[in-house]
Symmetry: C2
Subunit: 249 residues, 2 copies
């Protein structure tokens, strides 16, 4: 995970392990690529390589969905694409709202991977009244005041939070109160939500810090601190509680 996932007691949803669910999109992407090249069938070995996982793991993952393979041949690409899509709920239309249209929010709004997977950006919401009405990615920015009605009118159940850290919890509370039950959080804060609401977290800063940890270790072990001391050591300038004007990722 690079991505941080949030406190889920590793619930086994409908018999499908959480770890498997997290890999299904990976398989789906690899299968879609094969489908475009009109490849009819694929073995677990080939597909596993394409998805960057172990072939035994892949076969076990698929076994949770049912027996869709043919021994001696492999898996039917088209059929598997359909089954995984259905399992993930991608055959439905999922309206999504993005709250916080700063640099990141705008980038997300322009993201091409949305529509192709059944996700549809229903509305863009920002607290800055001066931004209201401005067009981003073909949609007008709406003011936060309209949040509740937008959620209700569009039957939105998935919300994306791309606000500064300080505003995230309040936005989260309002989204949940309005009926949103799944939240993707880009703000660097721990969100508290009632039971029944899923939160997933994406935190660039954390990912970089994890990389730095291993990087430091590599430099220390392999080069005898040579590189480490070459980089000029700096004392920590400050913190990042509420990031100012700039959009936190």
């Amino acid at each position: 995970m690079a991505t941080g996932r949030t406190h889920r007691p590793a619930t086994r949803s409908r018999g499908i392990p959480e770890a498997t669910v997290a890999r299904l999109p990976l398989y789906l992407r690899a299968l879609t690529a094969l489908s475009e090249r009109s490849v009819p069938t694929v073995s677990s070995e080939e597909l596993a390589t394409a998805a960057g996982v172990n072939s035994a793991k892949l076969r076990k993952d698929f076994s949770y969905l049912g027996s869709y393979g043919t021994r001696g041949v492999g898996y039917d690409v088209e059929y598997l694409v359909y089954q995984i899509s259905r399992e993930l709920g991608l055959t439905q239309d999922w309206p999504v709202v993005i709250v916080g249209i700063g640099n990141l929010g705008a980038a997300l709004a322009n993201y091409g991977g949305f529509a192709s997977r059944g996700f549809r950006v229903a509305a863009l919401i920002d607290a800055d009244a001066a931004q209201a009405g401005k067009m981003v990615a073909g949609l007008p920015i709406r003011h936060t005041d309209e949040l509740e009605s937008i959620i209700a009118d569009n039957l939105v159940s998935i919300g994306v939070i791309a606000t500064p850290a300080g505003a995230a919890q309040e936005v989260c509370d309002r989204l949940v109160a309005a009926g949103v039950t799944s939240i993707l959080n880009f703000a660097p804060t721990v969100l508290s939500v009632p039971d029944g609401v899923d939160v997933r977290k994406v935190d660039l800063s954390i990912e970089l810090q994890i990389l730095a940890f291993h990087e430091q270790r590599k430099a220390g072990e392999e080069l005898g601190e040579a590189v480490a001391t070459a980089r000029k050591a700096v004392k920590r300038p400050g913190s990042d509680g509420d990031v100012p004007a700039v959009m936190p990722v």
Copy 2:
């Protein structure tokens, strides 16, 4: 994670479990907030709540770093901030390059959480010659041709890939050849790298698909498919192999 992490055989780096390393930045953030409020000490219970984890887990995590707590009192906030920062390598200066300055790349360049953690954006690199020289976040966009020299001149060991999926592997190869040993990948592709290079992956599309899976499950169980059928089902429009003009996240 939400964040997708990439094939790391759960190596235990220097005795500190990978899962613990992934939580250290979380603790650090909570501690930094306490430090700003001039809170001198904190108990494992309080800190665990603030970081959204179990208190026993937090204590065990800290025990891998050494015994920094005082029984009956708790942990010294400032001291712990320093220890974790040092453990994560944040007392060093980490120059970072961002390759692919589309919507997302620009958002990352403007991200405020970089500098505050010892990460410094050394350069922005894009393949589009027409973009070269344009200023983003106070830095000029440099052309891909300069990639190797930029890496070498700045002793860069961490690279961020925010290019379209089709370009990611080539960029990755060049970064690695130039000396980069840690990569944060935002492109929706599986990157293959030699041993000794760390890759972490952030994939918005995957996070949303995981949310959709649970959302579908909730709707199916609790509302008896009512909502599910209310949303108009759509057939999948297409795939996302190489996303066209728009920046993939």
